[in-house]
């Protein structure tokens, strides 16, 4: 479907001449970034903002900035943006909404992901209710803030200010415009070493150089409440990496965030390259899965190191566990992980030594992850004799670059649709038949409305003892359609109720 500017005359008419002109001049640019549906949203957004009655400059800001947002993170973010702007209308002034719109491209650029942008808009909403006077100065400094903070960091910084100066408006304004000392101190505290957006291009090139193919990467913002953030993970062919890494203190030497990104990205990429088949999680207990995970990690890392020997050093420096840590099952997992990667690491434990031997014996069979399964199950079994309990929550791998391995586990999930298939009631069939066919079969007198077949005769059928009344007139019922359910807007709760209204079709009475 193609969209013409003129098609929207109805929506455009209420706009002032100047706005219509600027929309017209922005149109060719917008058509480059928006699809037909996106253009539709774009125009309707302008009309909706105009209907708020907060002045032309708000609409003009929308016209200028919405395509930039779409350019940065895709047009699907644009409806979110206009909904947020409309939602803010009851809480704040037009100037602030205008600021939200005009800084949206900056935020989109720094966040680089639609989901994160959505979270950002939500955060603006929250902040407006907690520190209404802080939003404006914060947005004015947004570029500076985003150059140093992740979304989680920004949120913590802002909410701290909102709580600290809940009623003290001048102080609130000071805090959010970065004038007060504590504001800068908080900023310093929340600031992260290396932000994903700043190094994404480098990492991309690095991975491409190594494997001559592209990997798709997305930032995740897991550091909302704590600074730690999510582990990296792989899902749907995307490498999800934390949106920032602090420099890592690896036993005295500082490892810059960029190196952390490299270690994490190249480890995940190694999974994508070398783990081609999932490992079935059927019949495995959590402890066995944890051990197999460690072996599988070691397997892909060994294969990668064979090709790129320098990776061993990059990864090994991020393993800091020592033989002295021997309390929990997690300690042993981490020691095993380190032992399998780092030859120079000495570990006296017989279980670890056994793991090393098994793994090195399998050196020629590393192509298949069945090897990981075999070694993992055997080692898991050996460990049982120690009677050290395993807790899947706390006994996790500590090497920060490793992903959570959700990528290669295959769970046989219960498929509700497949399960229901055998029990589903047969569909009712309606057939047009001839009179002879109709007359030759025996009527099932007990059949109700749920009969398997309904036969339809083109003409009315009269009984043999013709009294001038057809069968239909004597015992027929009006056919009734299946009920249709529609959603309906409940204005009292201001929510849409799904499948609320029911419509049943009937034949109209004659006459």
């Amino acid at each position: 479907m193609s969209i013409n500017f003129e098609d929207y005359q109805e929506l455009l008419d209420p706009l002032s001449l100047a706005l219509r002109e600027s929309l017209r001049s922005a149109w060719p640019e917008a058509a480059k970034v928006f699809s037909a549906r996106g253009l539709d949203n774009y125009i309707k957004g302008a009309a909706a903002l105009h209907s708020l009655g907060k002045g032309d400059s708000l609409v003009a800001t929308w016209i200028d900035h919405a395509p930039l947002v779409a350019h940065e993170i895709g047009e699907d973010a644009v409806p979110d943006l206009v909904h947020t702007a409309l939602g803010l209308a009851s809480k704040t002034s037009g100037t602030v909404i205008e600021l939200v719109l005009s800084t949206a491209p900056t935020a989109a650029n720094r966040l680089g992901d639609e989901a994160l942008f959505g979270a950002y808009l939500q955060f603006i909403n929250t902040l407006l209710s907690q520190a209404p006077r802080g939003v404006r100065p914060m947005l004015e400094n947004l570029e500076l803030l985003f150059s140093q903070l992740t979304l989680g960091g920004l949120r913590r910084w802002a909410l701290w200010g909102a709580h600290a100066h809940r009623t003290d408006y001048p102080e609130q304004a000071n805090y959010f415009s970065l004038q007060s000392k504590e504001s800068l101190a908080m900023l310093q505290k929340e600031r992260k070493g290396t932000l994903f957006v700043d190094v994404q291009r480098r990492i991309n090139m690095y991975l491409r150089a190594l494997w001559a193919r592209d990997f798709f990467m997305k930032p995740t913002s897991g550091d909302f409440e704590t600074r730690e953030g999510y582990r990296p993970y792989i899902e749907g062919y995307f490498l999800h990496l934390p949106d920032a890494y602090d420099d890592y203190d690896a036993g005295g030497t500082k490892l810059p965030g960029l190196e952390m990104y490299r270690a994490a990205a190249v480890h995940s990429a190694a999974h994508l390259v070398y783990t081609r088949e999932p490992i079935s999680a059927e019949a495995l207990n959590p402890w066995q899965m944890a051990v197999i995970s460690v072996i599988e990690d070691a397997r892909v890392e060994t294969l990668a190191v064979r090709k790129f020997p320098g990776l061993k050093h990059l990864w090994a420096q991020l393993h800091t566990i020592t033989p002295e840590q021997c309390v929990t099952a997690g300690d042993y997992l981490n020691r095993l992980a380190r032992a399998l990667l780092d030859d120079s690491y000495a570990d006296p434990d017989p279980w670890i030594a056994q793991g090393r031997v098994l793994f090195s014996e399998a050196a020629l069979r590393l192509d298949s992850n069945q090897t990981s399964w075999d070694i993992g199950v055997q080692l898991a079994h050996e460990f049982m004799a120690r009677r050290i309990p395993f807790n899947p929550r706390s006994d996790v791998l500590t090497a920060p670059y490793r992903d959570d391995n959700r990528y290669f586990w295959e769970f046989e999930e219960f498929d509700f649709e497949a399960a229901a298939a055998g029990y589903e009631a047969p569909k009712q069939v309606r057939r047009q038949v001839s009179l002879m066919e109709f007359a030759n079969v025996v009527d099932v007198e007990t059949a109700g409305d749920d009969a398997e077949e309904i036969w339809v005769l083109g003409t009315e059928l009269f009984p043999y003892e013709d009294m001038g009344k057809s069968f239909n007139e004597m015992e027929g019922k009006e056919p009734v359609s299946q009920p249709y359910h529609y959603a309906e807007w409940d204005y009292q709760i201001q929510l849409e109720r799904p499948a609320w209204a029911t419509v049943v079709e009937k034949r109209p009475q004659s006459g």
Binding site: R202, N204, M205, A209, L210, A212, L258, G310, L314
Partner: protein, 267 residues
């Protein structure tokens, strides 16, 4: 053979490692004096190949590095002033045609298109070079052959050969050799161990993966030889790679960083 042409004779065998059947094909082309065009990225061995073939065939080689300011008279020759009046000075193309050398126009697309037209009469069945200013028609020596090279990678619309020029040549495609061959070349040229050479070649492959994704051209065999030579003198391999491989090839800080990181996965 006259003194003028003697200086162009190649005395010692230039090292060249054949990759496919290019030597036989070139010899066949020379036997019928077909003009040849060598295409391929920079630093993959085009010029070395011509030197090697000239040595192999025992013919002198006259190389002209083409550039934008080159005029037709830079190729064919011009009148010069001296104490006794004017004197004709043959250009490299005229010398080659007169005395029977292989004339190699390196990076021929760098010269302006109208300049390259002067080679047309020499590259078809006429095999003559008209020196209009002098009023002489030089019939090419039976040994004369014309070879041109260019890099299709960075040719722009402005810098391409005319069809009328292109169609006078037989073409040979050159590319970076495959891993084992390239390793062999690096070992031979620099004297580093096969292990180090293998790593250098692997690094080059990493950069070649990025061609078209931020790099205009991959790391060439020539650069690997530079890097290998530095390592041979005792320079730390990572530093040698930085100097000889990464810094020259890109000015983009992100790219530089990614390549440096790729180097460190090998050393």
């Amino acid at each position: 053979m006259s003194d003028i042409i003697k200086q162009y004779k190649i005395e010692h065998e230039p090292y060249y490692r054949p990759v496919a059947d290019e030597v036989e094909l070139y010899e066949a082309a020379y036997s019928v004096r077909m003009p040849m065009m060598l295409k391929g990225p920079t630093g993959c061995g085009k010029s070395r190949f011509v030197e090697h073939m000239a040595w192999r065939l025992g013919k002198p080689l006259i190389t002209v590095a083409c550039n934008e300011d080159m005029t037709a008279s830079d190729l064919v020759g011009r009148f010069l002033l001296d104490a006794s009046g004017t004197r004709w000075q043959d250009g490299p193309l005229a010398i080659a045609a007169r005395y029977g050398a292989i004339c190699y126009l390196d990076e021929v697309v760098e010269a302006r298109q109208d300049t390259t037209v002067v080679i047309h009469p020499l590259t078809d069945n006429r095999r003559v070079l008209p020196l209009e200013k002098k009023g002489e028609l030089v019939h090419a020596h039976p040994d004369f052959q014309l070879v041109i090279s260019y890099n299709p990678g960075y040719q722009s619309l402005m810098k391409d050969l005319k069809q009328s020029t292109k169609q006078r040549f037989g073409g040979l495609d050159f590319n970076y050799p495959e891993q084992a061959v390239e390793t062999e070349i690096v070992v031979h040229e620099t004297g580093v161990s096969a292990e180090v050479a293998g790593k250098l070649v692997a690094i080059a492959e990493r950069a070649r993966n990025l061609k078209g994704h931020g790099l205009d051209e991959g790391i060439s065999t020539r650069m690997l030889i530079y890097a290998g030579s530095l390592i041979g003198t005792g320079v730390d391999p990572v530093k040698a790679c930085r100097v000889a491989l990464v810094r020259p090839i890109t000015d983009d800080p992100d790219m530089r960083d990614a390549l440096d990181a790729a180097v460190s996965t090998f050393f």
